[in-house]
Symmetry: C2
Subunit: 442 residues, 2 copies
Amino acid sequence: MDFDAVIHNGILVTVDNRMRVIEKGWIGIQEGVIRAIEATPPGIPPPAAGLTIDAGGGIVMPGLVNTHTHLPMSLFRGLADDLPLMTWLNDHIFPAEARFIRPEAVRWGTRLSCAEMLLSGTTCCCGGYFLEDVVAQAVSETGLRAVLAQGVIDFPAPGISEPSQNVSHARRYAEKWAGRNDLITPSIFCHSPYTCGDDTLKAAKASADDLGLLFQIHVAETRFERDQAIAKKGLSPVVHLDRLGILDDRTLMSHCVWVDEADTAIMAKRKCAVSHCPESNMKLASGIAPVPEMLKTGITVSLGTDGCASNNNLDMFGEMGTAARLHKVATGDPTALDAATVIKMATSDGARSIGLGNHIGSLETGKQADIIVLDTCAPHLTPLYHPESHIVYAAGGGDVRHVLVAGRPVVRDRQILFVNVDEVMNRVNDMSREIRSALKKD
Amino acid sequence: MDFDAVIHNGILVTVDNRMRVIEKGWIGIQEGVIRAIEATPPGIPPPAAGLTIDAGGGIVMPGLVNTHTHLPMSLFRGLADDLPLMTWLNDHIFPAEARFIRPEAVRWGTRLSCAEMLLSGTTCCCGGYFLEDVVAQAVSETGLRAVLAQGVIDFPAPGISEPSQNVSHARRYAEKWAGRNDLITPSIFCHSPYTCGDDTLKAAKASADDLGLLFQIHVAETRFERDQAIAKKGLSPVVHLDRLGILDDRTLMSHCVWVDEADTAIMAKRKCAVSHCPESNMKLASGIAPVPEMLKTGITVSLGTDGCASNNNLDMFGEMGTAARLHKVATGDPTALDAATVIKMATSDGARSIGLGNHIGSLETGKQADIIVLDTCAPHLTPLYHPESHIVYAAGGGDVRHVLVAGRPVVRDRQILFVNVDEVMNRVNDMSREIRSALKKD
């Protein structure tokens, strides 16, 4: 067999159903798809290929899947921290968004986030924002794979001054991007059950269903949200959404911090997926999602960084380490969320959460070649007893050396290939000076 | 004034009493000491010096102070994770220590940890282990500053087969290293109140006092420890130690997870310091130390990584981010442990915790030039509104570009100067293969 590309001399962490690790192996790629994944017999060179990548004895694994983010918000990274949630939103984030979220800012913020994600080993992200057509165009130029949703909210928003148009606007966006680009899948994202009325929720979900697309929504992120829902409607946010018929296996619910047993039973029954965002939930003091309980009921739980304004980076390695440690201390059980479970959340379960489970998320023949190579030749990754342990507890995004999406190298030797990073940083720095001086004057 | 070295073109995060940030400034160093720290007037070049380091517009800050670690334990990084504490200790860590903690292993493990710490911006660490004379010798060759304690425990331990000799052995070690090396300060470390009898605790503390040295001890790390102390003696670990006269301003207590208000009141009154190790406490499911309460009572709280076997890295940037996020979610207060507080914990308060507050921990004239330079020209650190925010919430050890200890460059452009990293990694990898195959056979 002739391969377009071969990656060899690596420890292959496959994340297949058996969590197989091949201590020294190679992967053959043809037309963007993994066609062979095998152990390397001693003394036998890897097969010839158009492109040969030597993993240098490092870890080769599926690219990470970040299932919840808001790409343009990297513009506001570190703009305001350590504040009560409502002060943070009302005095900093909302004014900055109202004033600066224009197509040009969205374009550069998105490019910045894509560069950060690719350089730190994320090959696919899922999320939503406003002006999503601009976001999708910008992402498509970077080589990242993404599920990108137009946001729907019952208030005037960037690009949709008339809220009554929000669902039809999102639908037009989704129709435009459906089937347009192999790496970009459109989606529709209702902001939340408290910012979208019942009719909006039902119409948006119906549009997503018509087009066969993922429906996303923030659910039960804060205690306040849950308490208010119960006070106003007598229903938890999850029960409320279920009564509206929103919950099914094409619904991704982000956060789900304040859900009880009855809620998780419904979520499991409806087969919806959850994007868990531990660092954002911790930083905003929202709470700790009951992830071990959700996993026990069979819910697919994946990991998201959330937007940069509340994290403040997009490093999925950090998110894995935090998830693994947080649920141990929260439950008092050091066996909770073991390394293999967390790696699955960040790869194969991430892919399943966003409807791409058959295409990405593991190193298996027939899957898309979304692959990352970690450089393990560093003091903080020495010695190496168990590669899964290092992935979760010791590595960081800076250890990523090579990144391929659909078999195409997008990062080589830590250099990103399809984003002019210097230009992106310069433009974003210019914008940040404007933002800072404008907000100071307000 | 003639300077031996000048660092210029940096954002100076001084961590002085006013947490002053100089947006563009320079630092002049003479004989290892900071002699000038000033804003750079536009158009004026920095003063001439034997060595000129261009910070490239990045963040210049005091080197990080890791106040709790066990250097040789990097040999066991990732050897066993995700296990109940007693299984982890009894089936993995203790057998590995009993079998492999020999001078040669201690030497190479220490070198590995020092390389990791220096490369990730830690310029001073504090901790203890056995065979500490070997540890101190190894550290002294790397250029790292350290407070290093011989461990004391009422069981046979590596290098001390006869427990009755433990305190005199520690004292001899401390006497040997007192005043011997500008960068190494000896100390004495009683393992814990449950592994050291009252006489041992009192004798070890008396020896440390005689020599004017820091006394270290693990206290109230687990609920089990606290419950057992109360069951056996009717006293909490803190009250027990206080009754023995162990607690004063030269005592550093590590962990302090299970302390109540009465305990913290005693700790504050006695002016002892605490080393908080959030990642280790989370990973081992020990619990969450009441850090905001300790800070309110005026206790000096610093940060430690703990040993590599329970973290699994020595990156103090990760520890800062984890501490800041963990206490927000634990208290439900997003203003808890703000970025400035956490930076102080990792620098100036770290220095105070280990008796070096007058010498290191901030960028101020008269202090030792323990300085690190972060490269902020990276997507994940763009844009930059507030340097303190990036230090805690967005940066990682991999962003450290230059490191000076006592004015001497020990890392330049991410390359470590006084450790042969390749040799260290090769030797540790060889040892890890032995450890793995020996433990498999057991």
